[in-house]
């Protein structure tokens, strides 16, 4: 082993430390008056700004939320047991902000931008404040490009456009996160060379996990990695064990990360999973800050809490680069109660909702989307023409099916036309079932929905529908590849194309082996 002499070390130390400046340092301070439950009341700090970060001893960081006449209310992002009464608090003169940029893709960070994935420091000098004002009317334009989630039921009937806010709402264990994760995984298609040639711009994703178990988040990250989705995704985590203030700011941090892409002419998809936990965290810290409680003990500005977050989703005008930020907030309901305070608020803010039901989930309809009450208020404009055409009859058929579903019990007592509607509906419901992590490209979705609505599956038993779809798509892929290619390029179904699909489907029906 090589030897290191002590005098050598001291020489190096002296050399390195000689450059250390010793000048007078000027900074503003305050004194902790009261501390507890993650809240500190501070005397002094007279010029401090709202939402400014302040430094407590032992490297605890806090954020200023209340500016009172003679004291300042701060929330702590660290252990409050490390701070004592009478401690000195220092201003940082920096409003809470987060590093942004493409360097953050593939990383897992906390809401202040500190990496927690053990992959080292993030080298970016671009910082943006966590709280930013939403854009005005002039800077925006209508939603016109689609975000393909890869889930047939959503892309066909509840389409999401770039710049839209679509709520995913449902009880626990109904697959809310699964829908969001599938949407992220499907964005992989927008990063390919093929998408580039078709004029589809890449979508960068941000997944914000609020108040979840760390193990759940780790599983999500592993899944994203497995499907190669981490290359274009940033995960922002404020786990359940972390202080309420961090959970409260997490979605705003996520929005800021997405806004960087939007403001630079790129597209982003931000998922807030979930906002009911964020509201609970905000309630906790509001009550500790002694703000008066209102309905369900939430503070008066809990609507503003979510509206200012979701208003940041937008599609920029072409002069500003045409970037977009699509938001998919998630809300967990209790026993299907959508009329609770937070769900009604967020439903009214967003441009539509995807409603997931546990009864559907348990009866095997997965994704468990209740298409009857799920809507998308603006996404229709963004749907490609071909999809619009096939989805129209799909929606109609399913609506008729739901109306008659109650009669299904009577079986053969029904007249012919009712029976036909019921049969077709059952097959369409089966067709829209889809496995997790298995997004379907839009051209394939169009073809299978076309086959379903045009009655090609009516002669097949319900149990065979998924097999029929799979084999049909394989058949089309091998024998009629041009159909998919035209759909991708033209984005429309012309008369000739329709005839072509029809004849191809007829041919396939002949070769398909029915089980019964």
């Amino acid at each position: 082993m090589a030897e290191v002499r002590p005098d050598e070390i001291s020489a190096i130390l002296r050399k390195q430390l000689s450059g250390f400046e010793s000048e007078v340092d000027i900074y503003d301070v305050g004194t902790v008056l009261q501390i507890g439950d993650g809240i500190a009341r501070v005397y002094g700090l007279s010029k401090v700004m709202a939402t400014e970060l302040v430094e407590f001893p032992n490297d605890v960081i806090g954020m200023v939320l209340n500016l009172d006449e003679d004291s300042v209310g701060c929330v702590l992002f660290g252990e409050s047991s490390l701070v004592k009464e009478g401690d000195t608090v220092k201003r940082t003169k920096r409003v809470a902000s987060i590093p942004v940029g493409k360097e953050l893709l593939g990383r897992v960070v906390n809401p202040l931008g500190k990496p927690i994935d053990g992959k080292g420091a993030i080298n970016t000098d671009k910082f943006l404040p966590i709280e930013r004002k939403a854009l005005g009317v002039i800077q925006r334009q209508g939603v016109k490009e689609p975000v393909q989630t890869g889930i047939a039921a959503i892309d066909a009937m509840i389409p999401i456009g770039r710049g839209q806010r679509e709520l995913i709402i449902g009880d626990r264990q109904t697959g809310k996160t699964a829908v969001a994760i599938d949407a992220i995984i499907n964005q992989k298609n927008t990063h390919t060379e093929e998408a580039k040639s078709l004029g589809i711009k890449p979508v960068y994703c941000v997944y914000v996990a609020i108040g979840q178990k760390s193990s759940t988040v780790a599983q999500v990250v592993a899944k994203l990695q497995e499907h190669g989705a981490m290359d274009y995704t940033t995960v922002v985590v404020a786990s359940a064990w972390e202080p309420a203030p961090l959970q409260y700011i997490a979605p705003y941090s996520g929005a800021t990360l997405g806004e960087y892409f939007r403001d630079n002419g790129m597209h982003s998809l931000v998922i807030y999973d979930d906002l009911s936990k964020q509201a609970a965290a905000y309630r906790e810290l509001s009550l500790l800050l002694r703000r008066p409680p209102g309905r369900e003990a939430y503070p008066g500005d809990v609507f503003y809490l979510h509206s200012r977050l979701l208003e940041r989703a937008s599609k920029l005008s072409d002069e500003l680069g045409g970037g977009s930020l699509t938001a998919l907030p998630i809300i967990e309901t209790q026993q299907g109660d959508v009329s609770a305070y937070i769900p009604t608020n967020v439903i009214s803010i967003t441009d539509g909702q995807i409603y997931l039901e546990s009864s559907l989930f348990n009866s095997g309809v997965r994704p468990a989307i209740n298409v009857g009450i799920s809507v998308s208020r603006v996404g229709g404009n963004a749907q490609i023409k071909a999809m619009k055409k096939v989805a129209g009859s799909l929606k109609l058929d399913l609506a008729q099916y739901r109306e008659l579903e109650a009669f299904a019990k009577f079986g053969s007592d029904l007249d012919q036309s009712t029976l036909k509607t019921l049969n077709k509906g059952a097959r369409l419901v089966e067709l829209l079932k889809q496995g997790q992590y298995a997004p379907i490209p839009v051209e394939k979705q169009i073809v299978s929905i076309f086959l379903g609505t045009k009655g090609f599956m009516d002669s097949i038993i319900v149990a065979d529908v998924k097999r029929f779809e799979k084999e049909a798509l394989e058949y089309f892929e091998v024998k009629h590849r041009d159909i998919f290619e035209t759909l991708k390029k033209e984005k429309d179904i012309s008369k000739e194309l329709e005839a072509k699909i029809n004849s191809a489907a007829q041919d396939f029906l002949k070769v398909f082996k029915k089980t019964a």
């Binding site: 010793s22 340092d25 301070v29 009172d68």
Partner: protein, 184 residues
Amino acid sequence: MGDFRILHRYATSLLETSLEKNNLDVVTIDFNLLVETLEQSRELQSMLDSPVIRPELKLNILREIFDNKISKDSMDFIEFVISKNRESLLSSIGKRFLELRDDHLGIANVFVTSVTEFSNDQKNLLQTRLEKILDKKVRLNFKTDIILVGGFIAKVNDTLYDASIRHQLELLKKQFLTGEISLN
């Protein structure tokens, strides 16, 4: 929180009346004495705080202590405060009044903490430098504290001018932790 609003209101009116009557110097001396007395005597403060003792009695006690020591105007103000049942805030009102007076006259109170006592030359030097920086008249208050290791800290309102060795060491420690100084 609520108290601050009240005592600020009383202190401002005291300042304004004394400016009107042109007796600010006298009132300042009076209230310096009052604040000092109240701070030194815990019994006196708790007597004022006590709701059991009748206001008239409180006034009589204060009269007995301060008669002939403070001006009539100041005594009248004390009487007014007691008549409004705000006697427990008297010392805070006095302190706030002195702060407002300093603000009005452009005087900055600077609290200097150092490890060793400053010599008179050093004090003068510091005073002229601070007056130049702050563009105000400076009143220096000195204190020694061994915890600084070396150097000094000057505190003006909430701003610290930190030239202490302790702070330098803290900065050095931080720099070590972030690895900006490399040892190879």
